[in-house]
Amino acid sequence: MDGPDRAQERLQARAPEMELIREAQAGSRAAFDALVRQYEQQVLRLALHLTGSEHDAEDIYQEAFLKAFRYIGNFRFECSFYTWIYRIVTNLCLDQLRRRKTRREDQAVVVDQSGDEIDMMASISDNRSFSNPGKELDRKVLGERIQTALSKLTPRERMVFELKHYQGLRLRTIGEMLNTTEETAKNTLFRATKKLRTQLAGLR
């Protein structure tokens, strides 16, 4: 496909979203549902990885899209819809992380790959873990270790690290999403990686 066609294609790819947004703002539920379908996978993926819990992730998903529905009238096309949605999601995630910190409910409990909760203390001394040798165990133990280290970060540090390392977003975008500057996002990332390095030192 040559140049002009591709540019046209790109425009057509974006134009439908703007149309959808306008229709949703005008009250079309079908248009809003279409927008949800475009973003729901990413939103759920982020919330799931960040909270480590299907239950919490679903709550965040629900609240985020309800908020989006309620406030879609305020969207003024000054930023991309993607940034706007993510701003809502990250704020909800931050609130969730802060609530956890205050309640201290995640100290000893960690969620593994399959979604089951493991008691950190038990897995260290449990005989079962020795009957399951090999790479699988290593990966599981390492996974738990990194999750524990991540839980020791402040909510903002955790958020920035998640968006940068796991979701691969640019620091500038992260700044926009968290309603702060790129500079602040950078400094938060530095603190986060420093803390993780200290936590995980000794593990190779």
């Binding site: 729901e40 993926r45 799931l48 704020n91």
Partner: protein, 324 residues
Amino acid sequence: MNCELAHERIVLAAYGELPDEQMHELERHLAACPECSQERQQLLAVKTLAAAYPVVEPDPNFLTRSRIRLEEALDALPPKRWYERFSQRVVNNFASLQTAPVAALLLLIVGAGAGTLGGYEFAQARAAHVAARVPAATAKAEPQPVPIAEVASISSVVRQPNSEIVDVTYNQVVPQHIQGSLDDPGIRQLLMLASENSASQGVRDDSVGLLAAECRAGHACQGEGIRDALMVALRYDKSETVREKALKGLEPYVAEDMRVRDAVLEALLNDSDPRIRTAAISELEPVEADTSVRQVLFTVANSDHNPQIRTVSREALSRAPEIQ
């Protein structure tokens, strides 16, 4: 380059955020500094270990369940009134013309119009409901001089076939008087009605003042929708004194009720009276650490027209450092 700066640049480089020319400088430093070189190794180790907790795609059933739950919640919401959507649209379209005084004036007129229409429509609905209980005049009744001032609405007009006679069914508003205690639910209902649809500012002022005093005194101010009435007054009433009283009445609930918090945030952003915006900031003090509140404070600190309000917002932001 000193090592502290190098450490930061190592992180940026690891995440592809270091400009090329700085990359070159960094490489030269690392070649000569074993400590920083080790720092880079350790960062790479962190990245590798982080991969032990990979991002997984949500299970399709889980996604479907979440979507269904969302659809149910959306279905349960009341539909947006047309004038809410309309004023929102107007605001969006004119937002980019903020500096144009004519556009701003039009915006004010349309917004006030939409608000008045909303109030009018609401009043109509209530009045019709009140008067519907009054039995409509029978077709055979003698036509008496109709007290036009008391006619709420006309339900039907039917011309009798082959004649000049017309049957008109109308609803009449009957002035009544009642006395009772502030605790009386009937009195409270009337006060709520007065707060929303009385044409007289004095009446609205009095009723909102009384309701707000009840709320501040903590006299059971949720079940009967008194909070709602205050929120409506805060948002839509044209008189600043009425809005100010409504705001005061909502103060005890800012911390516990999200809707009240949102209403106060809206007032902070949109109210034309700086006294009200200032009062809103002080009422938000118990929830200053909340993310959405901080966001609004941040916006106000930067873009409010009134310098004093910008200062107060900034102070509020600095008072409650983010919970880390």
